[in-house]
Assembly symmetry: C2
Homo-oligomer: 341 residues x 2
């Protein structure tokens, strides 16, 4: 029996626990810790963990894998608390929305005898906390894997294996790539959604306007209802990239303004038609990937397989190959259009 | 037996037909016309209309109420086609997303013996066409009623009655108010959604980025998948208002950029927390209104009731009173905050 420790039992930590319990992983004990006693107990009752640890250090003692699933700005402090208690050769990972700061903290704080492999499952919803946790949260979603330079290969394979066990699709990248990509497709949408809501809400005509706000407005502003702490932490740890993309988004809006103001109807229609088509392709490809992932069956695996990592490494290599092939096919298809406006 | 004519049998026209058939309206024949023979036949098979008309003029002959549910830029031409055939005292309405142009066309083109009452149900989805039509599309949604200055009171009441029959909530406003409000809460979100998708899609890193794009990106860019023709028509008929709001949105994004760049963490956290709270209030109020509307039962009414309009007038006055009271309560609650940044 080996131990996996989950520190932080909110939406992501709780869902990871539930997903691992429903996975084919055998002979493992999930130990959980949350600052809130209520959350810890809820997580155990919900079956997200087997055992409650009274503090972070006890949670990681004897753990083969430690998953830090706290808010980003708490990760640093959590690393400090667990560092002295981490067993030899332990694999430590996290689920934070940005990676450059986290990788720096790991290098600074964690002992050299452990391997840190940053992680970021691209899954979420606006509800937070253990009550919103669900085993299927990661199904078919991309799981970013950001190994530290000193991480052992088996440790990297273990985290890739974890991602596979919760039915996510692991994708390797470095911290800078990760932060610049998520700035565009995750953090920019968050701020755009928030700014759109605040602009309308702060208008003097809001009492009348809000009666006309329908499902379109609701969907586009959905991310404005996310956790303020998480939004704040994201802005703070990914500031430069986000500022870059906010500038570009403001420019993009003014491009559309000029197009609308310019009065070239055919050009306007073509712009909307191109984007509709591109988005349909994007949505269809995502659905296909999720279906393929859901259909894939994994053999029952033991914690030893996971820790030795051969199984996961093999599986990961197959997956990466598939993704690379898909990416090449895509590049080929898109070679002659799509990158100009 | 009286006639209601529906010209244009797409998502909105088809859904209106289905909703009216499921309503408590008695003794009425729904006559439908669509340019596409396939659509006309689908609409009849789906039960959205009783009878197919071979052309717009035949559809409106003997009709007590005519609903023009074509794309906005086709409305003008449709008015020209039906004008000579419209019976004395007929009520004509539309469902276009902008109202100022439509009201102008009606004044210019329709004969003086009919009453034009502009309409705009605030309901939609990104799928279009008769296949996407559903009877419940309007349930609890706001239905804007924009009477022309010369419309008879009974005609206004009839359109208010129609809105009630499809379980929408009728709200009176003038065309300029309507167009400025929908510019902010419907057309701006459409362009923001499209611009966000095009910005990411046109990035050189899109092949990698798109793998990290999760449900947040998908939701915020959903409107980019709407009908390009409709988006184009909206931009063309609501140009000035939309340009105004695009400028304000670009400024709002730069405000957030400054807030994020500025490094005052508490202010940033407070901004996100305020918007989260405000949006929760907005969502809860919408859900409450929909529930109230769904729970309201209507007596079975005859087409005569609808046309004489007393029933609808009474019902509408009750509804408007309720909405005004709610609006006053809201203003009172929000009196000391919320409109400043």
């Amino acid at each position: 029996m080996a131990r996996i420790a989950i520190i932080g039992l909110g939406l992501i930590g709780g869902s990871l626990g539930l997903a691992l319990k429903q996975s084919r992983l055998r002979d493992v004990e999930l130990v959980g810790y949350s600052r809130s006693r209520k959350t810890r107990e809820k997580a155990r009752r919900a079956g997200a963990i087997d055992t409650i640890a009274p503090d972070p250090a006890s949670a990681v003692r004897d753990a083969a894998i430690v998953i830090i699933a706290t808010p980003i700005l708490t990760i640093r402090q959590m690393m400090e608390e667990i560092a002295p208690a981490l067993p030899q050769d332990c694999t430590v990972t996290d689920v934070g929305s940005t990676k450059a700061d986290v990788m720096r903290w790991a290098e600074e704080i964690l002992p050299q005898h452990v391997s840190f492999v940053g992680g970021h499952p691209m899954a979420g919803k606006e509800q937070t906390g253990i009550d919103a946790a669900e085993a299927g949260l990661f199904e078919g979603k991309t799981y970013c894997i950001v190994p530290s330079p000193t991480a052992r290969e088996t440790a990297v394979n273990s985290v890739v294996g974890l991602a596979g066990l919760v039915k996510a699709v692991p994708v390797y990248m470095d911290a800078e790539e990760h932060d610049s990509y998520v700035a565009a497709v995750s953090h920019l949408p968050l701020v755009v959604s928030t700014a759109l809501f605040s602009l309308a809400r702060d208008s003097l005509a809001w009492p009348e306007m809000s009666q006309l706000a329908s499902s379109g407005f609701r969907d586009v502003t959905r991310l404005a209802s996310g956790s303020p702490e998480m939004s704040h932490d994201i802005c703070r740890t990914n500031r430069e990239n986000l500022v870059h993309w906010l500038n570009r988004m403001a420019q993009e809006l003014l491009k559309y303004r000029d197009l609308i103001q310019g009065g070239d109807d055919e050009e306007l229609l073509k712009a909307f038609a191109r984007i509709q088509l591109e988005r349909d392709v994007f949505i269809a490809r995502g659905a296909q990937r999720r279906e393929e992932r859901a259909a894939a069956t994994e053999p029952g695996i033991s914690i030893t397989d996971l820790l030795v990592g051969d199984w996961a490494g093999r599986r990961a290599r197959e997956m990466m190959k598939g993704l690379e092939q898909e990416s090449r096919r895509k590049d080929k298809r898109n070679g002659d259009h799509g990158r100009k406006r």
